[in-house]
Symmetry: C2
Subunit: 292 residues, 2 copies
Amino acid sequence: MKIEHLLVVGVGLIGGSLALALRRAGVVNRVSGLGRSRENLERALALGVIDDIASGSACARDADVVFLGVPVGAMETVLASLAPHIAERAVVTDGGSTKRGPISAARAALGPGFARFVPGHPIAGSEKSGAEAARADLFDNHRVLLTPQAETAADAVDLVIWMWRQAGASVTTMGAADHDRVLGLTSHLPHLLAFTLVDFIARRADAESCFDLAAGGFFDFTRIASSDPVMWRDISIDNADTLSAAVGEFIGALEQVRAMVGEGRGAELESLFRHARDARDRVVDQRRRTGS
Amino acid sequence: MKIEHLLVVGVGLIGGSLALALRRAGVVNRVSGLGRSRENLERALALGVIDDIASGSACARDADVVFLGVPVGAMETVLASLAPHIAERAVVTDGGSTKRGPISAARAALGPGFARFVPGHPIAGSEKSGAEAARADLFDNHRVLLTPQAETAADAVDLVIWMWRQAGASVTTMGAADHDRVLGLTSHLPHLLAFTLVDFIARRADAESCFDLAAGGFFDFTRIASSDPVMWRDISIDNADTLSAAVGEFIGALEQVRAMVGEGRGAELESLFRHARDARDRVVDQRRRTGS
């Protein structure tokens, strides 16, 4: 089995890495790249991530698989421009970090073709972006979440499952709302906290001495604050209901911890810290044992 | 120049690493270890971190340098029990992550000997703890902050500066309140956020699927939540005024971000994310260039 022609729209970290991973597996014959930045596409071509630069949306007609590696806020526009050109047999899938938004966009843009749209989200990434960040091994031992809808054709889902496995990932299917809730907590909320903390410190009069004396823990904690601002703007807006609720609940938890600190309730703080440490250590141990 | 006899009280990550680093430099003849956990001291002995296990506080009388590597909440008790035995010539210094608390404890316990107490804080660490976490290179290219007081003897400060340089670190002196404010923002606040986030997720009914689907970014962000609960309880309580104010201000910043998310104010979110990313990238670049 082979993909004759893959069109990657948005040849960044995710789209570019998918192309490289499928090449590594020898399961793709031709990869075309489409995107807004000519400079990025030229780099992708020079790096061998893509075979050619697509000349416009119309080139979608030759593609067997269309992969959307664009920020979730761009899905609607991109799908609307591609839709008239996508072949009936083609499978369209995405790598968006939220799933309800891309699903709505695809439903609106693709019409009956929505049955061949498989919503997906590879749980792999890096704070780096652009074609030069692409790596063939990005998805090795990582999960990809698919959130197929009632209308989604089974053979389209099977193809996308097969594709991600060839790329080194393991695939899980789940509901789109569950996806957005869970990822809202473990990914979107931490990103928001990291961005907010760095911004909060950077705005202070003593920002320079703060950054100067920051230790390794600070840089690990804030690594995700070096992520792409547009991508994270779109994720935050697309998952606004879940994320806003999660931030509200987290503020409640933080108010409680603040009261423990302010009132010197050391035993409660210690117990909370211990609970957190034990929970994290358990998950880390488990992952180490299963090699994931 | 050489330290004839170093007494390390609390042979954990910091105290143990200091002993190993000074041995590596060949500037210490004998290291004794004192601590509450016999098991940890036996391990420290077996690993060659210390030469002998001190039999009690009275052994402080032979020490030229006493290093306190205990949680900041234990400083008062430890100093009170050592104080009657410390030689007049000896220099006492600590590695506590807050400075105002240890300074008060030393001022109360040491009497005129307070002049030979040099408050210190090596900005190096790990989420690991105990003698087995000790490494000779822990302080290489790291900063040590000293916060000497008006009473502190210049020759005691000079000795401690020399000692840390021999251990591979660079030394900066600053005010104790400045130290606690800056570290409250860049270290204590992030630790509190990481502990609170992991606890917050672990308490949810869907905690298992949250942890199951968490990506690498989550584990980097929460690495500091695997830190020692007692150490962080003590830091939080000792720096309560600063930390509580910082958490309050951070909640204010988070409320603003939450409103941007809830009201779909994408341009403001993007600008905040970009400001944070640029600030972090600038600091990371600068450190890379200076090799620190």
